[in-house]
Symmetry: C2
Subunit: 340 residues, 2 copies
Amino acid sequence: MSQTPELPVERSVPTSADVARLAGVSRATVSYVLNNTASVRISEATRLRVRAAAEELGYVPHAAARSLRAGRTRTVLLPTAHLPLGPLPGPFSDEFQRALRRLDYTVVQYGSLGLEGDEAARAWAELRPVAVVCLGDAEPTAHGVEVLKRSGARAVVTLGPHIVEGAHALVMDQRAVGGCAAAHLIRRGRRAVGVVVPEEAALRPTAGARLEGAFAAADGTGARIVPLTMAYEEESAAVLAARWRALGLDGVYAYDDEYAMLLMRALQDEGVDIPGETAVIGAGDLLLGRLLRPRLSTVSIDLVSGRRLAELVDRVVREPATRPERHELMAVGPVQRESS
Amino acid sequence: MSQTPELPVERSVPTSADVARLAGVSRATVSYVLNNTASVRISEATRLRVRAAAEELGYVPHAAARSLRAGRTRTVLLPTAHLPLGPLPGPFSDEFQRALRRLDYTVVQYGSLGLEGDEAARAWAELRPVAVVCLGDAEPTAHGVEVLKRSGARAVVTLGPHIVEGAHALVMDQRAVGGCAAAHLIRRGRRAVGVVVPEEAALRPTAGARLEGAFAAADGTGARIVPLTMAYEEESAAVLAARWRALGLDGVYAYDDEYAMLLMRALQDEGVDIPGETAVIGAGDLLLGRLLRPRLSTVSIDLVSGRRLAELVDRVVREPATRPERHELMAVGPVQRESS
DNA sequence: TTGAAAGCGGTACCAT
DNA sequence: ATGGTACCGCTTTCAA
């Protein structure tokens, strides 16, 4: 408190009025210049004065004031329950964000960790996003969608497994993943197929859909599906592996590659031959799956490009009359390696 | 710009004035009731009427209007270049966010993908966050910090490797990670230690700091450090492995566990004995590292709890006079397994 | 070419 | 116990 020359610490934040004063013009002029408003012609001299003043003051426009006045935002909200975006690969979200930014949206990710259902939707609605894109975890309820729409959201898009009533759904059907995995195992002659369902709560929606898909794939083939719960921990995998032979399974789809790698190692430690005794398949086609021996079979999940999803969002925003559609955003296919 | 195609469906978003009208009270009263303003006493009957009206209309307050009036937000901005949060483990960020929410902040992650340096800082400043916490990637420049402060940010916290001038820095020194890894290898008798530097641009800051730490650890020990670039792809690892013997290294610290697993497999395929011929160590203590054989040695990175970091942020926000400090937020330690 | 002024949706002070 | 009202910072008619 005594050494530095008393900086007026609480110097107030510069507003467009400050810029106007310094440049000797009106606030309106400042707005015109800084926004390059095409419908108004401002002399070059004035433009320079305004720009210089803004620069000197370190003026940054106030987004809240701007959107309050405009009556709408360009905010696209991505709610996330779990931080590393649920079941989506990194490159996809990167591309998605870039594309949205190029379309002049402000992409904001809102961590909804402590919030439940409708409470979360309310919190999102307070920000008046023009669109809400739910990437897998953090699904909105039907009522939540209603709240968002009422608050001005022109597009509520869900990539989750279910169609949420009222949402302009772009459905990414996780059932296809489970179906593909189970079908692959059955095609290769397995008749008793375990399906790992992670205990982690955040993965439940995805896991449930994948399991559902596995059941559907087994339907009418004579093969049976056995759900198995497991946590992402070595011990949990070991416990499951210990009772493996009692289960009498000859194949297992282990939710995703990480769970599959974990389980496969536990089974090997238990002396289970893979794929002889039990075939193993994961999902996601992680690079690391190729490092184990035997190499891990997997289900590759190709998403539509982030760019295309961004364009879809943009279209719905501009024409909210668009009927909720069901776009297929995901292409899945089995990748057979050595574990199946 | 003509963009409102007069949709009849465009029922306007309910405001507190609508609620007031429906409840037959003034806007002030609505505000008092909905915010439970302690300094004002409202009759129970009125409260009920207001609440019912708000409910019926599906009223959600407008965050922008509120913070415009308040003159400040409770927004904590987490800029992220890469979407799944940079080099931080998931549980940490989860906890951090939860804790901030409990302290009544609104946590918003802002994807800064297409933005460069000062441009990014400007974009963040438009949101008038009360605090900005940079979690590793997306470091602000000194000028960026200045812009943020001027725009009203009370705390600019960086967890990156460098102290940014003006930022209330809580430094997470990634150099310690590299130092720990290198020291471990040297302690175990290795004299020529490779350090993998990922080619991925997003990892550069972290990787650079870790490399720097490795150099420092080798200093004066007679051991030498050899930087090696590698991309996160099987082929890149194979290329590196192919010229391994020519490099004459007897140890390698491979940035993190994922790179380490990739490289280790490539080396094994090349016939390099691990750890006999070359010791390998990663960082991050991933579960998957234990699944390979030999089991991967690693550097465990324990962060201060997210809760504590949240409390630090809160303190700086409430007492911005707090001198920029250098907190040690990270505790690292070697975890020796079989690969070293 | 520029300025004055009316709001956007809330909040909080001051009356009543 | 409530209502009236003046703002917050910015955009955008409408006039000059």
